[in-house]
């Protein structure tokens, strides 16, 4: 499959009152056409800003490291001017945000907001753009789209708004879709509707997708490959089945074991195993392995920074336990 995105040695730092903090560093990954990549981790692990950095949606006080290179279809994103970026955003790369409530403009009808994409990127006139918008709304399963285009975001339910967001994101058939916690704000029956829709559309357009979530259930349902992030670094990456069947990093194992198992009956449920302690703040990441203070299997070597160690089948782990397993 054609490789469309390459992120190499991503480092994101912020200038703050407390000095420079670096919440993401040494993150590398790639994505092929039609592939769905999941980024999973707890709050503050850097998963959202990692994805935002791909289309340069970072706050003003953020800057990328000198060795960071992000290539989208062979072009280095960091060298693009803001006009050139504008052409990519919404057309080749688009996003679905977590909060459908705050990411739609309350002052414009949803029809206007979707047709804006067509007017800007495809130069369509208002009527033609509106027609395409109605088509798109029908595609994402909104009933009576001719009527709905004239409505404002507040007239729609949460699930409907998220469908509108998806319609807008997919309007120009992007090559890359970044979905940041696309179903976290939704109820479970509505979440199921939206996940089904995303899956259907992905198969139809073979869009490469990055799904950012803390929900291992969503990851297991949707993704081909997974990156597990902890404290600003990838600690493990691999094929979805490898990650769930043979997790290697103690954090991945801990994460999988700490969620209640819905597939196991009540009488067979065991006490949840826990990861002791709390997620560290980016201003005070521990030296060496960042998971060391919470790790049940930490040893002396963990005071040094572990490298990413690749084992078979593109399954990589950042942990000294697997040193020498190199293949």
């Amino acid at each position: 499959m054609e490789r469309i995105l390459e992120v190499d040695n991503l480092e994101i730092s912020f200038r703050t009152q407390l000095g420079k903090i670096t919440p993401v560093d040494g993150v590398s990954f790639g994505l092929s056409r039609g592939e769905t990549l999941g980024i999973v981790g707890e709050s503050g692990c850097g998963k959202t800003i990692t994805a935002f950095s791909i289309i340069k949606l970072l706050p003003k006080n953020a800057f990328l490291g000198d060795n960071t290179k992000i290539t989208f279809r062979g072009r280095d994103i960091s060298t693009l001017s803001s006009e050139e970026l504008q052409k990519i955003r919404g057309k080749s790369i688009s996003m679905v945000f977590q909060e459908p409530m705050t990411s739609l403009n309350p002052l414009y009808t949803i029809g206007w907001q979707i047709s804006e994409v067509y007017r800007l990127h495809e130069g369509l006139d208002e009527d033609a753009a509106m027609k395409r918008s109605i088509e798109m709304l029908r595609l994402v399963g909104i009933p009576e789209p001719q009527k709905r285009v004239k409505e404002f975001p507040h007239q729609l339910s949460g699930g409907m708004r998220q469908r509108v967001m998806i319609a807008m994101a997919l309007a120009c058939s992007p090559e890359l879709l970044i979905a940041d916690e696309p179903t976290t704000a939704l109820d479970v029956t509505i979440q199921a509707q939206v996940l089904e829709l995303m899956n259907e559309l992905k198969n139809k357009f073979s869009t490469a997708t990055i799904i950012i979530t803390h929900d291992l259930g969503v990851i297991a349902e949707m993704c081909d490959r997974v990156l597990v992030m902890y404290a600003g670094q990838i600690v493990e990456s691999g094929d979805i089945f490898d990650i769930f069947d043979k997790p290697m990093h103690p954090y991945t194992k801990g994460l999988i074991n700490s969620i209640p198992k819905i597939e196991i009956s009540k009488k067979d449920q065991k006490k949840l195993s826990v990861i002791d302690g709390y997620v560290p703040h980016p201003s005070s990441f521990p030296d060496g392995c960042r998971f060391r203070p919470r790790c049940p299997t930490a040893f002396e070597k963990c005071l040094e920074k572990p490298p990413m160690i690749e084992s078979e089948g593109h399954h990589s782990v950042r942990c000294w336990l697997f040193e020498g397993d190199d293949m």
Binding site: L216, G217, L272
Partner: protein
């Protein structure tokens, strides 16, 4: 299970009147005729999607909201044989039950007063209920409970902002547990927490229940958590209970079409059990609870609805031992 329940809630209603211009007055029927019973020592789960009224039930039970109608019989503590109807008590007569029935709130950021120390937060209940003879005694009680919930006693002079989300939730739990309650209403106690911290708090709640012999009403929307912690589960939809059963019974043999749709909607964290493309989808959105029609509340989204469902409203009936469902399919 024990013969007579510790808590019996009968026909509980909580309506919020709405102003609507020239139209006649309408009511938001957040809770509309709910029957629940909770046995001593068990954990009853109350699940449902946002807006179904589960949080309103929890809040009405401790009279944060004044109930519109219904009875709340409580047989815990030193009350008489037949139990007391909490809703009929005056504020002063209710005082001992305010200690007996405690609540753990969802949002560990909003539920702790940011301007007072942990010591003051926890000791307030002790002073109100005249527990602990002296300042010193109260202080040692607080140190004890902090240790019990996994916090260092020397943290008691810190302020809430100095703690993480999980630690704050422990403080909220300590505040409830120190009063030696009989019934604890946990309103989404772990839904604001990260997965690794969520597991810590779930284990803590289970340990405390075991050590203090507590009874929980556990309100949540995460069915995996509910399955793990609850003995029995009641499923709510738009202000009413649609199904109540023992946990495994409910998961293995859901009767109400809403329950089976809800269970099928959950993404399972196991890629070998992918349901994408083959799950039973509950279509449509949750309708508005403002003046809902007197039919089955689920009729518009139900794949198995028939004539009768659009005309009458089903009531909650016991169809097999301990399995209650409110659906005409089982009439």
């Amino acid at each position: 299970m024990k013969a007579s329940p510790m808590v019996e809630i009968k026909n509980l209603k909580k309506w919020f009147p709405m102003k609507s211009g020239f139209k006649s007055k309408s009511n938001l029927k957040a809770v509309d005729g709910v029957d629940l019973h909770i046995y001593g020592g068990e954990t009853l789960g109350l699940v449902g999607e946002s807006g179904c009224g589960k949080t309103t039930i929890g809040r009405t039970l401790i009279k944060i909201y004044e109930p519109t109608d219904g009875e709340f019989l409580y047989r815990g503590g030193d009350s008489s044989e037949g139990g007391v109807d909490i809703f009929s008590l005056s504020e002063s007569k209710m005082r001992p039950f305010r200690r007996e029935i405690q609540m753990v709130f969802q949002d560990p950021y909003a539920s702790l007063n940011p301007r007072i120390t942990v010591h003051d937060i926890i000791s307030e209940g002790l002073r109100v209920h005249s527990m602990g003879k002296s300042r010193e005694e109260r202080k040692s009680m607080i140190a004890g409970i902090l240790e019990k919930v996994g916090l260092r006693p020397e943290y008691m002079y810190r302020y809430p902002h100095e703690f993480s989300g999980g630690q704050r939730q422990r403080i909220g739990i300590a505040r409830s547990m120190i009063l030696n309650p009989g019934l604890v209403i946990c309103d989404e106690p772990v839904s604001a927490l990260d997965v690794s911290v969520q597991a810590q708090v779930i284990n803590l709640l289970e340990d405390l229940k075991h050590d203090f012999g507590l009874t929980y009403l556990f309100i949540a929307h995460d069915l995996a958590v509910v399955k793990h912690i609850c003995d029995r589960i009641s499923v709510m939809y738009l202000g009413r209970i649609v199904e109540t059963a023992e946990t495994d019974q409910l998961f293995d043999n859901p009767l109400h079409p809403y329950t089976s749709g809800l269970l099928s909607s959950i993404p399972v964290p196991n890629p070998h059990m992918r349901k994408i493309g083959k799950r039973e989808i509950v279509k449509g959105d949750i309708p508005s609870p403002v003046d809902p029609p007197e039919t089955c509340r689920f009729v518009k989204r139900c794949p198995r609805a028939f004539d009768r469902c659009c005309k009458e409203s089903p009531s909650l009936r016991e169809v097999s031992d301990g399995h209650f469902v409110s659906c005409f399919l089982y009439d």
